[in-house]
Amino acid sequence: MPRILAAGFVLAAFITTLPLAVAAFTDRRALAAAFVIGLFIISSAAGGILTGCHEGREHQGDSECEAITGDAAKWLGVVDVSRVPTNINNMIFDDEDGDRRSRIVSELPRVVPIGLYLVMTGGLGAALWLRYRRLTV
């Protein structure tokens, strides 16, 4: 139960801060929404490509295939913005049997996904606050 509560808190903090921080920089709602959804789609696609298998080696099995970017795949796997809270949740639940991309990122030192989460949530929260501090009304 504490893990469920902690993981929910982590997820909610991230998905609250990101769109609000983006919305602080534009008066157009559609633009803010399109930016967040675009960021999510592009980073997800980029993460998928950068951690994808070499062509013709998929037959070796999902977990066995060699990533197109080699050893760098575990670092490049974190570019997927939508997976930032998921990587933390995998740690909270101690879930190492997730999908291939989760396993690739789990090879990194734990401080990397945690740091990225803190930078994205705390950093974007700070950006939101600073944006309003400089706002002239």
Partner: protein, 168 residues
Amino acid sequence: MTQRTGELFDLGYQHYDGPREGRMRARKAVFFDGFRTTLGLGRGAGAKVLPMLLFGAAMAPAIIIALIVSLTNDLIDLPGHPEYYQVVSIVLLIFTAIIAPELLCADRRNGVISLYLVRPLSITDYVAARWLAFFAITLLLVYSGQIVLLAGLILSASDPVDYIRDNW
């Protein structure tokens, strides 16, 4: 030469004599306004469609998983609590991207933020209250889904007490 005549109307304006509740009251007001804005409360039916879809999107995976578990009575290969968060994070991110700008953009575009700030309310209070309002709703959504899922998994387990003990 005709002389213009003016007329005074007593519209009943009076000084405010009630209690002056200060900064915390202003913070609470912005928080609850943010809560209401996010859920589309006090507005037309159109404003409520997206929050309802958001609620449905957060609940659907939990209900589907709970139903499958209760029908198949097989807990081994079905997604559980971590997988629920993984699925729902994608859905919630898209929906919150659409709903969140409503909280901030409209106040700036319509100049309402200037009115907020003539009250004993700092810009930090405003931002914190808006963030907390949206965070509270998001937290409520993700926990509601987990409660539904947990209830489904407990009721489907062969020994509910054991399931609660193992997953506590």
